[in-house]
Symmetry: C2
Subunit: 393 residues, 2 copies
């Protein structure tokens, strides 16, 4: 078992109608001026934004707004947010949306609180020393960014998608009302569930002797998300299923599922980041599309772990042959993805990269041959290319 | 599923040798003078206290010490701590020990940071408005106080044991090195494991439709503690077993196992608090002594929940009769207690209260007929007496 740090300072306010508390929660932060950051018009059309403005007004909080965050959030809007915050003296950012909006808010927070170009942090050139405080009203269960330390931004100059992680960026509070997620389309719901499962699976597949307590929590979390994802395909307004998925999303990525591990593999995420950067696909769907190819490529490095996954998570009967059990677990996961209409290869994602583009993805993913990814098996640029190629479908 | 808040700001630093980091962790808190608070001589004899002083010295932190905390920590020492902190200008308390030391530190923290008598908070006469910041070096896995919001103090004037819970008292950091717990005697280890399991079971037995994610985490946590408690009976220096139990102790009581519930029952804890106040027994052992009697007294109010517990936690085969399954689960839990040499009734605790004393316990536990306890079944003073009586053995 590895030593670990665990730090989740975010105050979670979970349940029906909790968005009414947002004004009070912001007031507790003793800030002067809030930037309300959001994405598309859906939070306007649903009336959520007006309810939040009402709550801020009632609490006597001054605010300005910046919408327009898109999936795979863009650096250009982050720069605009930084400029606005500096001009307007903003000292708190309220993200109303899903992972893209929260990640964009974190990036703005780093940009305002530190000198120089915020992209430096995402390029790992230097570390942030501070971040404006962030609050969240969550409308999409997926990224786990509401409790996590991470933020992923896409730089349109080269379409590079890069992540930056720091405890400084953890939200002060997260308002989580499962009812706000009921209007999400089926595809986005399933994509979110995949992302949640993958945040746990990335940590679960590692190269260390594991912590039993963490393992069991992770296995139960993945099973719970699968079960409720299936329910949501036919019953998108099932409150309990929405709530199970929403809370699983936070626990999956706040650090809990990594306690006692080496941090986990994360190769699938890195592979998907480049797909998302180049083709702008839904993150969770992209993960589903590459996972099977990744799993089959690395399974021989830790068949016993994949076999445990097969039995404890996927309900595969334990066979006499470990590798056979392991491979049946991978198939079972792909069957689950199909059952919630997720792709299991890149072409099913709706994109058809050329061989040249696959090489370009691998080059970018290896940071132009400057890094390997993964820990179950360390993957270099050639491995990455082969996994993309095998994932083509 | 109920709405819930979840707030666990404590920075956990977990694993071998982490106590070396304590000086740095205190320095991050930007305080001027630390009170190092501890219990018996064991932290002196083991050399732990000297290592901590060394770490504080290396970080340039000024400190004074106050030892002498006993199990069921006393209000008189709390008063002494408050006086010392005020005289010496202490602005941070470092608790080196288990739940008693941490709870005593929290009480001192409330006493220094608020006007008036600190006992008022424990008597629920008023709410604390602040608390000195607390840090923890944990040496006993049991109370979960290192991440919880609660503190339990015994007032020698009447031997009243009372708890106070507030987010203000949550520790800023908790250093958790499982190796520090290896020298604990068998009885204290088993008592600690019982306390940990009970923190989850108190929340698990409730009166609401439950959150599946929380249920599975709770069930796995209890199973993990039982398994590792058995290992520790024969192998007290098994690092992984100590680590599983230690982390379970924090997760059990930091709020995680209550998410989506009504908060849980807590009658067994209230019943034990009075036993501990009157007879000064080990808290976990006291819980084991009353739990079976409590469970049989209330099982008819929620047999389906006890049956789920029997099957998912205790591994009882699901029978056709729900109540029979439920009762077999209770028996199985008592068998577990016996297997780790815990008492299953009050006389096995080593005390033999008179009938008059049982009435006195019930009177005190009902706050002299001013409250009921429990939610599976609401218990009044007569119910309390009967549960104590049935638990006599």
């Amino acid at each position: 078992m590895e030593n670990f740090n665990y730090y989740t300072p975010t105050k979670v306010v979970f349940g029906r109608g909790t968005e009414e508390q947002v004004g009070e929660l912001v007031r507790e932060q003793e800030c002067k001026k809030v930037l309300v950051h959001y994405g598309s018009g859906s939070v306007k059309r649903s009336g959520l934004l007006d309810r939040i403005y009402g709550s801020l007004d009632a609490a006597g909080i001054e605010y300005i707004s910046l919408g327009g965050v898109v999936p795979n959030p863009r650096l250009s809007l982050v720069y605009e947010g930084i400029r606005i915050c500096k001009e307007e003296g903003v000292d708190f950012i309220l993200a109303v949306g899903g992972g893209s909006v929260i990640d964009s808010a974190k990036a703005i927070g780093y940009g305002v609180a530190n000198e120089g170009d915020v992209w430096d942090f995402y390029e790992k050139k230097r570390q942030a020393k501070a971040c404006l405080p962030i609050g969240v009203v969550l409308t999409i269960s997926a990224a786990g960014s509401e409790m996590s330390d991470s933020s992923v931004i896409t730089n349109e100059d080269g379409w590079l998608k890069r992540g930056y992680s720091s405890d400084l960026g953890r939200a002060r509070f997260a308002v989580m009302d499962p009812e706000l997620t009921m209007t999400l389309p089926k595809y986005q719901t399933a994509s979110g569930c995949t992302d949640i499962m993958m945040h746990t699976m990335e940590r679960y597949f590692n190269q260390v002797e594991n912590m039993e307590l963490t393992d069991g929590i992770s296995e139960h979390l993945i099973r719970t998300v699968m079960k409720n994802a299936r329910i949501l395909m036919d019953h998108p307004d099932d409150y309990n299923a929405r709530a199970e998925v929403m809370w699983a999303g936070s626990l999956s990525h706040n650090g809990l599922t990594g306690c006692g591990t080496d941090g986990g593999d994360w190769a699938s995420h890195q592979l998907e980041h480049e797909l998302g950067g180049m083709f702008d696909v839904a993150h969770g769907a992209g993960l589903a599309a590459v996972w099977g190819s990744w799993a089959r490529y690395v399974v021989d490095a830790r068949p016993e772990r994949f076999a445990q996954f097969a039995v404890n998570v996927m309900g595969v009967e334990k066979g006499t042959d470990e590798m056979e059990t392991a491979l049946r677990g991978i198939e079972a996961m792909e069957d689950f993805y199909r059952s919630v209409e997720m792709p299991v290869n890149i072409r099913e994602l709706g994109v058809d990269p050329t061989d040249e583009q696959l090489h370009e993805l691998a080059e970018k993913c290896s940071h132009f041959r400057k890094r390997t990814i993964g820990c179950v098996k360390k993957l270099d640029v050639d491995d990455m290319y082969r996994i993309y190629k095998n994932a083509l479908g």
